[in-house]
Amino acid sequence: MTQEEEFIPTISVVEITGDLGGMPPVDANKLFSNVLSEIARGCISSGAKMIGHIKANFTTYDGILSISCTAEDGKVRLRSEFHEPVKGYRSVMNVIVYGIDYSRMCTVIDSSLKKIPGKKVITKVKDSGCNDSSCNDPNCTDPMHRSFVRLT
């Protein structure tokens, strides 16, 4: 089986810390939801076959916005929202998409994250992968360790 015949997800884990300077909660909910929507749509327009799961939690001292997106049109579902003005926040975002290479995915993510105003620090989290020959570790960099699913 060649790598072209396999269908494995591409994964990016991003950590963001920033400050929205007291943005109203409704606006912050909309801003971050739009970011995830744009990443989903951007991945699809860059050739991705399917959104596996794009999900993120944005946490403040007293609140959490939890966003999930699995739709190609970028429709999001919110598990919880901000109810207070948003100043400093921290976020962990998992972007898991099928049929797109990592560099293209990163271009889409970087472009979408630029739209978040205010000071922010963005870190792409590196995972070490594993050494197990029976691995299904989605973060593993060795394609021979991946869970293989044929493209249909």
């Binding site: 269908f7 997800p9 994964i11 884990v13 950590e15 076959k49 399917m50 959104i51 596996g52 799961h53 999900k55 993120a56 939690n57 946490t59 959490i64 939890s66 999930s68 699995t70 739709a71 579902r77 598990r79 919880s80 962990v92 975002m93 998992n94 898991i96 099928y98 989290v125 590196k126 995972d127 070490s128 594993c130 197990d132 029976s134 691995c135 299904n136 570790d137 989605p138 973060n139 869970s147 699913v149 044929r150 493209l151 249909t152």
Partner: protein
């Protein structure tokens, strides 16, 4: 200890199901633990569960059906010895094969599992596409399913629901298909009653 494995493909709503079933499961004083197998070194699902007031044990950076199998067994042993839970809920990643998990926790010295319930969550909105792309993993998951939850049923028409149910039957699953909306908790009380029956 009753082990509940909440499995399913990526983004089907596994964490949403867990968030809604833990309350009813804990009724009557049952002690619960949740083991969360997140992608990557920084997890998202465990964070939201923790923010909902629950303690979560995380297994990160690998998959508990293979690379972190030993970690899962160690955690279950440790939790059983220290906490004596009545129920342990395990959420694997969306690529895990639940059969590997079931096999790996049985007949392990120092670990007493009285019963295992495998919940497979299916995304109604994307099932027809997933069925074409992920036939093998879906088949593997449904093979070991005790309970199949068809989630996000509000997002599809009744005609599509029929087609989805017929699609599920092609994987040789002949049990009941429970229609739920996990993010709103709709349909999950009956599922909990079925689990604890």
């Amino acid at each position: 200890m009753h082990l509940i494995i909440v499995s399913g493909m990526l983004g089907v709503g596994k964490t949403s199901v867990i968030l809604k079933i833990v309350g009813p499961l804990a009724e009557g004083g049952r002690k619960l633990v949740i083991i969360e197998n997140d992608f990557g070194a920084l997890g998202v699902d465990s964070d939201i569960i923790r923010r909902n007031g629950m303690e979560v044990r995380e297994l990160k950076g690998g998959c508990i059906c293979c690379t972190l199998k030993a970690g899962l067994i160690d955690d279950l042993r440790l939790l059983q010895a220290n906490f004596e839970p009545d129920v342990a809920i395990v959420e694997p990643t969306g690529i895990a094969d639940p059969e590997f998990i079931i096999n790996s926790v049985q007949d392990i010295s120092g670990l007493r599992i009285d019963s295992i319930t495998t919940l497979i969550v299916i995304d109604a909105e994307r099932f027809l596409k997933m069925k074409k792309m992920f036939e093998r993993p879906l088949k593997n998951q449904l093979k070991v399913a005790d309970i199949v939850l068809l989630n996000k049923v509000d997002a599809v028409s009744s005609k599509d629901l029929n087609e989805i149910e017929q699609g599920l039957r092609t994987f040789s699953y002949d049990g009941k298909i429970w229609h739920v909306q996990a993010d709103k908790g709709i349909g999950l009380d009956d599922v909990v009653r079925e689990i604890i029956k």
